[in-house]
């Protein structure tokens, strides 16, 4: 099936939040903190603006607790006398003219008595910098398996290394935006978001309104990648506060500069590996320390850390593993959800470290991975027994074969012998990604889905999961149509409107197809049982049964529903971080080819092969597009995407100086799937959306290392960074 809303998008008919017609509304904008930390001593409104023409909101206008409720309650909706990061929202302004509003925002001065900020998460804080708990640690987590100290002491070889990754900006092409208005007594908030029920709960809490007086509706969302997981709650609250005070609709749409400066980014990381091995490369002990920069509020950092450490040891078998993780408070804009959610950072470290080990032991990096990759019956770091029947070595082999790895290595060696100004190399990364919420997360979510039989015989699928480009509308249509024997046009997908759809959980964590899709199948089955027909009744006869039911039950609703049930045999101990972290893992090996220019130190990716086992592939075009898009985001993070900060503020918050890959910066991405259906996912599918961002950075840097002999340990590997660590330029000039 082709993308359901594809033609609407291609013709420009799809209406995003800023495209919706809206009458008699005000634009809203945000006045923000100019400094990273301090007490707000005054807010001065400039004399050359007629403030009576503006709606002005500050923390005193918040009807309920001044908290953006999420995991913790430490983040205020609007700063109340104290700021903890640059760009922290302090005052909101509403006005008819956007231009007038821009001038007004510049005319408000937030005066702050500065206090010493923490700006580097890697440096232990001084006493006067402590702002969270006793030590600025937002969250600590630990995984332990076997006896690491003993195994390290006895290991014939120990290889250590530290690895770092920088912040990454999402650059969804549609910036954040939200509209709010009152409809009778109901506050309606509509906008670009991944998680309507997160927004609903934030609004209920801070505005002290119950569910009957708030309604949240997602608009077609122009990209999210995690960036529209938690932040939309903030902007929804801002729009709502202005609308409530103004008594009129209010629209807030960030411009690119504000979006890049003030919203979340991928957590910067620092990871140390200490690995004990036999001389031929068998893993004996993995000792890891993982540190993330959380920024100024807790937001989602504890769960980002959780996913990060669970993936940190890689898809390998090792009897002795210790992973100590922590997220540090800093006076930075809070870091947040971004595709991969902690795993890209730790998998970069892991897979780059594997190549460092291979070089140290003088063994083949492919061989090192082959002998250590998990075999069925072996356990991950949390003790989860992997027994899914996937041949992980076959995934690796397929990637080598498709990339012509061996022949390329020989060809590159020959090329490098004869060329003074360029170096070519090939590198790989083997990795995995757990789908769905971690541990008991899916059980806590308690997701619910409904499939309604309509009077004309069609069905409507009701979920809170949203389309942001990844293909939810299409895949949900396919899943219901296949289950019922319907044509796609006989399946409607309800708008994600909390006034109508049940809470099927957030659109995150690669859970939509696998977990929610499976609930759709079960809700379809439930619909059949309400009709008292069996699974053999499909297509036209099922449609006829629905029509007949409605004739016999005038004015009643025919609804099948399903609530999440944990797949059998899964158990998780959250206190000790032991057990089945995920219902299923997707497995992959990616291979990158690069050419490095020795005059400019710039690296170009010249070939890329992405092989993965993601269960059953439900829609080849959509799945391939997810992988290609994720890989290119990963290449950007590996080589060029660098957030530059000064005094806690991003200073390159423009697409002019924060560069993402163009079509001319990347090669075609060759994608292949191995399919091993997962019995508890819709039609056998596992999660796919995040996996592709985990592999490119280590594969690309391993390729650069192979090409040049350099030993890069951090992304992005910009030309400046490569120049700083390279000595090959001099050698080649001899």
């Amino acid at each position: 099936m082709h993308r359901r809303e594809g033609l609407a998008k291609l013709t420009g008919r799809e209406r995003y939040v800023d495209d919706l017609p809206l009458d008699d509304f005000l634009w809203g904008m945000t006045v923000r903190s100019p400094v990273p930390r301090g007490r707000v001593t005054a807010v001065r409104f400039g004399a050359d603006v007629d403030w009576s023409a503006f709606v002005i909101v500050d923390h005193r206008d918040i009807p309920g607790p001044n908290e953006v409720i999420l995991i913790e309650r430490d983040q205020p909706v609007l700063a109340a006398g104290y700021v903890r990061h640059v760009h922290e929202p302090v005052v909101l302004l509403g006005h008819r003219s956007r231009e007038g509003l821009r001038r007004a925002v510049r005319a408000v001065e937030v005066v702050v008595a500065p206090e010493p900020p923490v700006l580097d998460f890697r440096v232990p804080p001084r006493p006067d910098q402590i702002q969270y708990g006793r030590d600025n640690v937002l969250k600590r987590l630990k995984i332990e398996k076997g006896d690491v100290e003993r195994a390290l002491a006895q290991a014939p070889v120990v290889v250590s290394g530290t690895y770092e990754t920088g912040a990454q900006e999402h650059v969804y092409l549609e910036t954040q935006g939200m509209i709010a208005w009152l409809e009778d007594q109901v506050l309606v908030v509509k906008g670009s978001m991944q998680c309507p029920y997160y927004v609903l709960s934030a609004l209920k809490h801070a505005l002290a309104r119950d569910e009957s007086r708030v309604r949240v509706i997602q608009t077609p969302t122009g990209g999210g990648f995690g960036g529209k997981e938690e932040y939309p709650s903030d902007i929804a609250l801002h729009a709502a506060l202005l609308a409530l005070k103004a008594g009129r609709p209010v629209k807030i749409v960030y411009d690119r500069g504000e979006d890049m400066a003030a919203t979340t980014k991928r957590h910067p990381s620092w990871v140390r590996h200490r690995t004990g091995l036999t001389r031929d490369g068998r893993l004996l002990a993995q000792d890891l320390e993982v540190v993330l920069d959380g920024g100024a509020y807790v937001t989602l950092s504890p769960v980002v850390l959780s996913r990060g450490i669970i993936h940190a040891a890689g898809p390998y078998s090792c009897d002795n593993v210790r992973i100590a993780g922590r997220v540090m408070f800093t006076n930075a804009v809070p870091f947040g959800a971004f595709r991969g959610f902690g795993a890209p950072q730790t998998l970069f470290a892991c897979e780059r470290h594997m190549d460092v080990i291979a070089r140290t032991l003088e063994i083949d990096p492919v061989e090192l991975r082959r002998i250590n990759l998990l075999r069925d019956g072996q356990t991950t770091a949390t003790g989860q027994v992997i027994r899914d029947g996937t041949d992980r070595v076959a995934v690796l082999e397929r990637a080598l074969e498709l990339s012509d790895y061996r022949a390329k290595r020989r060809a590159h060696a020959a090329f490098n012998e004869t060329h003074a100004a360029q170096r070519r190399g090939i590198g790989l990364a083997a990795f995995y990604h757990g789908a769905g919420f971690t541990g008991g997360g899916e059980v806590h979510l308690n997701s619910r889905v409904r499939v309604a039989g309509l009077a004309d015989g069609r069905v409507e699928v009701l979920t809170a999961n949203i389309e942001m480009g990844q293909g939810t509308l299409t895949v949900f249509t396919q899943i219901a149509a296949e289950r019922l024997g319907f044509a796609p046009q006989d399946v409607a997908i309800a708008e994600a409107d909390t006034g109508r759809v049940p809470n099927s959980g957030p659109t995150v964590a690669s859970r939509t197809t696998m977990v929610v899709g499976r609930l759709i199948e079960r809700a379809c089955d439930d619909l059949r049982s309400r009709l008292e027909v069996d699974a053999a009744v499909r297509g036209a006869s099922l449609r006829a049964a629905i029509v007949r039911w409605h004739r016999e039950h005038a004015a009643e609703r025919l609804v099948g529903d399903a609530v999440y049930e944990r797949p059998p045999g899964i158990s998780w101990d959250d206190a000790n971080y032991r057990g089945d972290a995920y219902g299923a893992f997707a497995w992959a090996t990616y291979v990158a080819e690069v050419e490095v220019d020795l005059a400019t130190y710039s690296t170009r990716v010249t070939g890329f092969v992405a092989v993965q086992e993601v269960g059953k592939v439900l829609n080849e075009t959509l799945a391939r597009g997810q992988v290609q898009g994720g890989v290119v985001q990963g290449i950007g993070w590996a080589l060029m995407e660098e957030c530059k900060f000064r005094d806690g503020a991003m200073i390159n918050n423009q697409l002019t100086n924060y560069l993402i890959p163009t079509s001319d910066d990347v090669p075609p991405i060759h994608v292949a799937f191995l399919e091993n259906p997962y019995p508890h996912g819709a039609q056998g599918a596992k999660g796919l959306g995040e996996l592709p961002i985990d592999g490119p950075a280590p594969a690309v840097l391993n390729a650069v290392a192979a090409a040049t002999g350099a030993d890069p340990r951090a992304v992005p590997l910009t030309p400046e960074r490569l120049m700083a660590i390279a000595d090959f330029g001099l050698r080649s000039a001899e």
Binding site: L10, T11, G12, D18, G224, G469, G625, T662
Partner: protein, 153 residues
């Protein structure tokens, strides 16, 4: 800001509109004329989401002051024939859709000027349209398919 009256040809029909003197063509199209197909991605000429044709050439409408289009011809994504866009739907050229109208407008320019491919690759010609979702293969392959169809027609 002073209002000025501007007349031009939009998608084949004459229009006249009062705009602020410094107003961007992007805003005139979106907020005054209701043609919201043209998107803003960056507002500074980097992303190409706002691409329209001005006298047949692709331009970033966020960088064009509306007064400059007086008497000229502007074509937006709304002018395209939907069935002609089917190959893009099939080929995975759109995901979230925010870059898509701009991508399509650049693609149409290439389609109408196949001689460009004598001196540039498709990837070079599309480098002014940022897409964060597709990784570009879906876009480049779809344009290739459209050009192929035309070539064989």
């Amino acid at each position: 800001m002073t209002a000025i009256s501007i007349a031009f040809t939009l998608n084949g029909s004459p229009v006249s509109v009062d705009v602020d003197s410094a107003e961007r063509l992007l805003d005139t199209l979106r907020y005054r004329l209701g043609l919201t197909g043209t998107k803003e991605g960056c507002g500074e000429g980097e992303c190409g989401a706002c691409t329209v044709h001005l006298d047949g050439l692709p331009v970033d409408s966020c960088l064009v002051p509306t007064y400059q289009v007086r008497g000229r011809r502007v074509d937006t994504v709304e002018s395209l024939d939907p069935p002609a866009l089917e190959p893009f739907a099939r080929g995975g050229a759109t995901q979230c859709g925010a870059c898509t109208p701009g991508v399509v407008m650049t693609a149409w320019w290439i389609r109408d000027h196949p001689e460009l491919l004598g001196t540039h690759t498709l990837r070079e010609l599309m480098a002014g349209n940022l897409c964060r979702c597709t990784g570009y293969d879906g876009i480049v392959d779809s344009i290739g398919a459209v050009l192929g169809e035309r070539g064989s027609a």
